[in-house]
Symmetry: C2
Subunit: 251 residues, 2 copies
């Protein structure tokens, strides 16, 4: 893929790339979709470049669709990374190394690229991680066990998680990350996993109910030993309204 | 300035610019620093380019310092704008028009530039708006009376204000925007001006006090007819701590 782009470099915005931090939730773990090749011991965030005639947001959607097969999912630009030496060739141009491309074939890419970071929340079970070509593998990795990443990808990942945590104060999270029907303890576990800390059960119940995005179903969780907890689903319309307008709070 | 850059274009990151939304507070108005030239009826946000050997954040500090004379002020990257046609030459390259530069001298700039938006909160009274060269004027304009802007600068300004409003829920605001000593009604007025709506006096007092960043001074506001209100100042150390860690709230 990078090779194809290098062969058609005049069709791409110079000095600019996209990196996507793709989060999924499974087995009570917050997982991140990462890429590896046989050329490097390090892992990388899925990324891509921006065609000159395409919006940067569109290019991000393309990257996301390419690696997950998913469309129409929650994707948000969170920060742009442009340290002077984040990928200059005198430091070591790790993306060329990562894909085993010699420097003389990758001259276009051998300068500082500024990268726009996007994060996505996707449905783990519906995602089919898709390598681009035979050279790479794409895997879900627990965000607590992320191995060494190339360039400043660790910093990009950390900033994405920091943004997601901050945005929990501004909007609801859960749609796309949980199955269609879930229990309040499962939703609380998702919040705890993202925030990296325990929450008080009663406080959580009170606050999450107050948002008004949950529909209590006439169904209980099966396969549970003791008292079966109620199942809930998101009221999609209200959920989207709150995502759009923000949690009513503050001043 | 743009001319100098065009003459030394290989020293700048291709296809990338910086735009700064600089807010100040005066006479109960939220003001924005804007630029005008004799070549155009429209106004523009102060902006600049990124030297290849410089961090994008550093380049933003340079733009800010260049237009205000200020250093060490609150500056935050908030979004990157990269619509395919935001400034392509077939639409009309308004920045070249804006500075009266013919297209053949501005070829480097005659393609889509992606721009990284920063917003700054500055002390109105300490700011000395500084034009770059004789061709432009730099002025504070009430954000409610902003005239037509070039390119997508209106969208950039709106997004900056939206971000600032949202961040009022995450951090305190006021330092740099208010004089050193102020009254609670003055601080409330600042919040109301940013939010564009009235706030309940008692709620505001309760919430702002709870943050723990205010020092009540042993002084009253002079030149006030009736009951003189108390003066306050920010506890700089606590203020910065809250800016760093965020308002404790949420989950």
């Amino acid at each position: 893929m990078l090779k194809t782009i290098l062969d058609n470099k005049e069709e791409y915005q110079p000095g600019l790339s996209i990196d996507c931090v793709i989060f999924g939730f499974h087995d009570n773990q917050l997982k991140v979709l990462l890429i590896k090749t046989k050329y490097s011991d390090k892992w990388a965030l899925p990324g891509g470049f921006v065609p000159v005639n395409e919006d940067i947001d569109e290019a991000a959607v393309t990257v996301l669709h390419g690696r997950t097969g998913l469309k129409g999912i929650f994707l948000r630009q969170f920060s742009t990374f442009g340290a002077a030496r984040r990928c200059s060739v005198d430091v070591s141009n790790s993306v060329l190394d990562f894909y085993g491309i010699p420097l003389d074939e990758g001259k276009w890419y051998a300068s500082r690229f500024v990268t726009v970071g996007y994060y996505a929340l996707v449905d783990f079970l519906q995602t089919v991680p898709q390598p681009e070509g035979n050279n790479e593998i794409v895997e879900w990795i627990d965000h607590n066990a992320v191995p060494e990443l190339i360039l400043d990808h660790r910093q990009i990942l950390d900033k994405a998680l920091e943004t997601l945590r901050m945005e929990l104060n501004l909007m609801p999270v859960g749609y796309n990350l949980l199955p269609e029907k879930f229990t309040i303890p499962e939703l609380q576990k998702l919040y705890e996993t993202i925030l990296g800390r325990k929450l008080d059960r009663r406080n959580f119940l009170r606050k999450i109910t107050a948002i008004g995005i949950l529909t209590k179903l006439d169904e209980k969780k099966s396969n549970v030993a003791h008292k079966a907890p109620n199942l809930y689903s998101f009221d999609k319309e209200k959920y989207e309204e709150v995502v759009k307008n923000g949690l009513t709070q503050g001043w």
